[in-house]
């Protein structure tokens, strides 16, 4: 007994954390990451599951699945949407204590055991379940509008299109209305007309009847032609929403062969309205609050560093990713909204952030060193060049993954250079799009463009390439919310 308790205490000293954040959980995710606990890569490796704010049905059930997948000792933390930095730290501390608490963990283990999975209960059509991004089992049920529509009609008829995105009739007003009304529905982009073959449903199984079927409630994989023209097994693998280094709340349903993605459908949409954390200064300024340019630039630089951190982590350069995130955290340290002060002190949030913050000069120098290091990496350039080519009309997203990395590095550098700008921020939200920030109407927003581009870019990409492409676009799903669409 004594030994187990002792080991538990030591195991709890640096527990790996898996963060579940929806589009509006960005602020809380940043606070959790700033605590510096190691990030778990999969449920099996995680000790603490942190839900950031209210999750919505879909994300919540995904989180529950991940929780069921986590081996004990384990702890779960649900952060309220308005938690302050101090509260987040306290909640994590509590989780650590509970991890070291022998009796609590034994009780949890006993309960966990009784609710274990038994063959025949679940009927998930993917052959390989229990991926770290554990799909909610209901994702493939007919109740799901998107897949239901595809499965039954095999076409576009039943699915919700984004009118603007497909160039169909209806002007801006109609498009607004539509996306407002259906912001919660699953929108998908790209003009694919292929139907979803649900495995076992028997689309393409000629010659193998004897081997197909259902095992323990799990259908065998279906098949389809691969890129060399061979009929090979296909897997339906959802990427996200609970996955390390992945855009908050994004789900991409994929059909994969081996590790090559054949079809990808982006599932976005969130019932609750909210504001993008990264757009906050501009939205506040548009509402007439006094905001300085410096405060907005600080947020912009941090946003780019957040995206770069994800990309570098996915690119297998943990050291550089850590630097990017550390710089981001240092920038945001003086961001009082992040720390939760707004909620304590009323609404005078974004004022006065331009005051000289101790350490900002260091950030400038450290950022320059970081940017130089990333730009100079030959291996990184070798690995990223030519991936995810986007044509030139999408200014900020144009080029390949490497171009986007360089553009982000430049944008973050410029923003960091303007931290001391005391001029008040004036915003014209209707104006043309920029790299970050809420400009443009719903159709022009860079996140919308990125989400629309994704399926086309992901088709034919290997999983590793797909992760890099997604990380290089890094759409902010909160921008797609109904409220954001109306500006």
């Amino acid at each position: 007994m004594g030994l187990r308790g002792w080991l538990l205490r030591h195991a709890a000293s640096r527990p790996p954390v898996l963060v579940v954040a929806g589009p509006y959980g960005t602020r809380l995710r940043l606070l959790v990451e700033a605590c510096g606990w190691p990030q778990a890569r999969s449920p099996a490796a995680a000790a603490v599951l942190v839900s950031c704010g209210p999750l919505g049905d879909r994300l919540a059930s995904a989180a529950d699945n991940v929780w069921n997948d986590m081996p004990g000792p384990r702890a779960r933390v649900s952060l309220p949407a308005d938690a302050t930095a101090a509260q987040v730290r306290a909640a994590l501390e509590q989780a650590r204590e509970s991890l070291a608490d022998e009796t609590a963990q034994l009780r949890d283990a006993a309960e966990h055991l009784t609710t274990a999975w038994h063959p025949g209960e679940a009927a998930d059509p993917t052959m390989s379940c229990a991926t770290p991004s554990e799909p909610p089992a209901d994702e493939h049920e007919p109740s799901d509008e998107h897949l239901g529509g595809h499965g039954s009609s095999g076409g576009h008829a039943a699915s919700h299109e984004h009118p603007g995105g497909h160039g169909s009739s209806g002007g801006r007003a109609a498009s607004h209305e539509h996306s407002g009304g259906h912001g919660a529905s699953h929108e998908h982009s790209g003009g694919h007309g292929a139907s979803h073959e649900h495995s076992g449903g028997g689309g393409a199984s000629g010659g193998h009847e004897g081997h197909m079927g259902v095992v323990g409630g799990v259908a065998m994989a279906g098949r389809g032609p691969d890129r060399d023209g061979l009929m090979l097994d296909q897997l339906h693998v959802p990427l996200g929403p609970v996955m390390a280094d992945w855009p908050d709340g994004l789900v991409v349903e994929t059909v994969m062969q081996g590790d090559v993605i054949q079809r990808a459908v982006v599932v976005t949409g969130h019932p609750e309205a909210g504001r993008s954390f990264w757009d906050e200064p501009w939205l506040a300024a548009a509402e007439g609050e006094p905001v300085t340019r410096g405060a907005a630039e600080r947020r912009r630089a941090a946003a780019h560093l957040d995206s770069l951190g994800r990309l570098l982590a996915v690119a297998g350069w943990p050291d550089a990713a850590r630097t990017a995130r550390h710089l981001r955290d240092r920038l945001l340290q003086s961001d009082r909204l992040l720390q939760g002060d707004r909620l304590l002190q009323g609404d005078r949030l974004l004022q006065g952030e331009d005051r000289l913050v101790r350490g900002d000069e260091d950030v400038v120098a450290d950022y320059a060193r970081f940017a130089r290091r990333v730009r100079r990496s030959r291996v990184l350039a070798w690995m990223l060049r030519g991936l995810g080519q986007v044509d030139r009309d999408h200014a900020f997203l144009a080029g390949d993954v490497l171009d986007r990395v360089h553009r982000r590095l430049e944008a973050a550098g410029d923003a960091i250079g303007r931290l001391q700008d005391h001029a008040p921020l004036t915003v014209d939200l209707g104006a043309g799009g920029e790299d970050r920030g809420p400009w443009g109407d719903g159709r022009d927003k860079w996140s919308r463009v990125a989400v629309d581009l994704l399926p086309g870019l992901l088709e034919g990409a290997e999983l590793a390439e797909a992760r890099l492409i997604v990380a290089s676009l890094d759409p902010d799903l909160a921008q797609l919310s109904p409220e954001a669409a109306h500006g």
Binding site: S42, A44, V215, A315, W317
Partner: protein
């Protein structure tokens, strides 16, 4: 017997040091207390087999390495033995990846096999170059052949290839894609508790063994002034590990779809050229 204990002790200390340098003590403790977790319809037998095989092949590969004067198992074909055991990691990683019946570990397992096909041929050529230079497959004689000049000096390409393949066989650092962040930890994604601990320990052991093998192969073995041979072996092994760590910090992960071309178009011709040069010199 004393040699076995010494080798295992040294290996254990180094593996522990490498693991802890990544601030993994909490991870070790977790490995001892965390429950095992099961995926849907896993092949438990194969998972366990893969998990156990990894540290076993690392130790078997270490047997032929001379610690100080001589090796525990002084095989006449030590280099081939080392190569065979290190290829055993392919089987181990693939088994662990396949057995979980889950997408990301499976992709990780595949990636490791692809990685193996990319690195193994240049790796073999590098080893053959060393054997040719020494005129023997026995590690002891390879060390003896370096009395005058270390092989790293006149076989730089072979050494470079060896370093790349050492990182690749332990799927660590830039060659760590089979267990990469992009696929949620790849082959390790579904491992938990003692399985994870043993598997990761095996991986670190393989990294340490690969570093230790570079010492007799390229760095003159235990040769050096003042200190005894075993101490020099240890010092050089740590130096190679430090080199690995430096590479791990500076270089992002290498994807096989690009590296495969590089390996076959650049590394193999270069290592053949090196082989030719060494062959001419020896003649």
């Amino acid at each position: 017997m004393g040699e076995v204990a010494g080798l295992m002790g040294g290996l254990g200390v180094l593996v522990a040091a490498v693991a802890l340098s990544e601030r993994n003590w909490a991870g070790v403790a977790r490995g001892l207390v965390v429950q095992r977790r099961r995926t849907l319809l896993p092949d438990l037998l194969l998972i366990r087999l893969g998990v156990v095989t990894l540290p076993v092949v690392a130790v078997l590969a270490a047997l032929v390495l001379p610690v100080g004067e001589r090796a525990v198992l002084d095989l006449g074909v030590g280099i081939v033995w080392f190569n065979a055991m290190e290829v055993g990691a392919w089987a181990a990683v693939w088994l662990a990846g396949w057995g979980a019946n889950s997408v990301f570990p499976l992709v990780g397992g595949y990636r490791f096999v692809a990685q193996g096909l990319a690195y193994e041929l240049p790796h073999m050529f590098a080893l053959i170059t060393v054997a040719l230079g020494a005129g023997s497959l026995r590690f002891g004689e390879v060390v003896a052949a370096q009395r005058g000049l270390w092989f790293v000096v006149w076989m730089p390409v072979a050494f470079l290839v060896y370093v790349i393949s050492a990182l690749a066989m332990a799927f660590w650092g830039p060659m760590g894609e089979p267990g990469g962040a992009g696929i949620a930890g790849g082959v390790t994604a579904e491992l938990s508790g003692p399985d994870r601990l043993v598997f990761l320990a095996g991986r670190y052991a393989l990294l340490v063994v690969a570093a230790a093998a570079a010492v007799p192969l390229f760095l003159g073995g235990g040769a050096g002034p003042w200190l005894p041979a075993w101490a020099w072996t240890a010092v050089k092994t740590v130096a190679v590990l430090a080199l690995f760590a430096g590479i791990g910090r500076r270089v992002p992960a290498v994807r096989m779809d690009r590296f495969m071309t590089f390996a076959w178009m650049v590394l193999i011709p270069l290592s053949l050229l090196q082989l030719l040069v060494v062959g001419i010199v020896v003649m």
